[in-house]
Subunit: 305 residues, 2 copies
């Protein structure tokens, strides 16, 4: 199955209680595509970069089956850059700087052949940009997955609600689910949000796992307790990448297969946090993924009679 990922490519400057790293190649589209590329090699990225983005990295993506033809290169501008500092709990962070640079002008044009994906993944972006991408699809993708954040709920709620009508799966965190729905109980929140358009809602809870809801069912994917969470940057996107990667590979859009996909997303996210940026993701081995998957199976399995 063909995947189209629309999202940012960026330089991240990251400070955690464990250390500091500068000009790490990040961005939602990067993490999503990289993570999905462990399951399928038919992925397009649509994004925008400046004159400072490393050509080597684009070549690396190409070699992993990630087509970079849809990445617009702006000659006289710099790439989008984010600087942030994580607190000790690693679930909260302060944004120290957001340099939009090329992102200010991002008006994605989906290349021919990239506009007929089976799965469209809209990474966290201005809702109006997400809407423009949706409208450029030649035909309705079989599955549209959307990520967003509280900032867009604060500033562009109306457009966001418009986008949500065209979406199959929404991925947000627990605080965002509460904000979007106005409900504290996540179960009640899920009902409100599913009324807004999405058929599935994934609520990401960081070190507390993730929940999948549809109209009638709930599934819970645990997070694996790790020795150290080194850097959570990109974990949510990596999760989404594993999720759509598994779906593209298995070609089945049932609730049952969504559950398995959620676990694959969690597996990939558990690697992401083990090193700065996408370092750990770049050199994963299939056996590592399989072993980690087994850990996710074991951690919730019990005997009942």
């Amino acid at each position: 199955m063909k995947i189209l990922v629309v999202g940012t490519l960026a330089f991240d400057n990251i400070e955690t209680p464990f250390g500091k790293a500068e000009r790490i190649v990040g961005g939602a589209a990067n993490y999503i595509a990289l993570s999905a590329s462990y399951f399928t090699n038919c992925i397009d990225i649509v994004s925008i970069i400046g004159n400072d983005f490393p050509e080597d990295y684009l070549n690396f993506l190409d070699k992993r089956g990630i087509n970079t033809r849809g990445i617009e290169k702006v000659k006289n501008k710099k790439s989008f850059s984010w600087t942030g500092r994580y607190h000790l709990d690693m679930n909260t962070r302060d944004t120290l700087a957001t340099d939009l640079n090329v992102l200010e002008d991002f008006n994605p044009k989906i290349p021919n052949n990239a506009d007929t994906p089976d799965i469209l993944m809209l990474g966290n972006l201005t809702p109006s940009v997400q809407l423009s991408v949706l409208n450029q699809m030649k035909e309705r993708p079989q599955l549209v997955v959307l990520d967003t954040m509280n900032f867009w709920m604060d500033t562009q709620l109306e457009t966001l609600l418009e986008v949500l009508k065209g979406v199959d799966v929404l991925t947000i965190n627990d605080e965002e689910a509460r904000q979007l729905s106005g409900e504290y109980s996540l179960k009640k929140a899920s009902k409100r949000i599913l009324d807004m358009g999405p058929k599935y809602l994934i609520i990401k809870k960081g070190e507390n796992g993730a929940l999948l809801f549809n109209e009638n069912m709930i599934f819970f994917a645990p997070a694996l307790p790790l020795e150290d969470v080194f850097d959570p940057t990109g974990a949510g996107d990596t999760f989404a990448g594993g999720f759509i990667g598994h779906l593209a590979k298995s070609e089945t859009f049932s609730f049952d297969n969504f559950k398995t996909a959620l676990i694959h997303g969690s597996v990939m996210a558990s690697f992401c946090v083990e090193d700065f940026g996408p370092k750990r993701l770049i050199k994963l081995k299939p056996t590592e993924i399989n072993n980690r998957l087994q850990q996710f199976i074991d951690i919730v399995q019990f005997t009942h009679s």
Copy 2:
């Protein structure tokens, strides 16, 4: 198997965002024994009450197979009372008043026949009281389970560490695990704490489930997303009661059976929070417990190949 529960009986005054309730019969021993009584009817309580504690309630406990002979009645004093207010997140609360009353003089004497339990459950109490109970056991119980809290880590750490040496299972919440171990990562925290004596550590995470650790293994029990968490008072004790209740019924102390016991604890706790105090627990039906257990099985089950 015989269970001995040592802990408080109390009146609770509870305020939540959903309402207010006064003089609810609570206390750790109450929730633990009540919850365990759905699995076994060979339970002793050792506790202390004042002249204001309802005789009817003691009769009710007796009828459920909970022997109340070890409950000391003080004629000229009042029962222990706790007043608290929950925040919207239901995970945090302010204690508005703690009236120790009879609890000031609590120096438990374990009655004959109650001092040979198979399972000893030490509810959250002054560590020196917990130690005195441990020392009164005629022979070492097959399983000693201990609950404690941050307050004792702040004020009686040395005695608490002494108690921990004689304990098989410690149940605390995530913040307490971090405080006791000095480690932020729960995996690292578990290693430190298991070095202090307990062979098993249960970390309770409220609406985010519970973790079970031994030296080499980890198990995760989810919490069920509920429409409403009405009142979390007693949920941790109810969890412990379901845990030891299942163990007493199944008579097997393996890691595998501990996992199943953890799920039973979670099932019982999920009922506890649905109404004020032990209201929901008092009139549970076996079919309700079985249906809820099936929900806990379903919520984490997925296909993998």
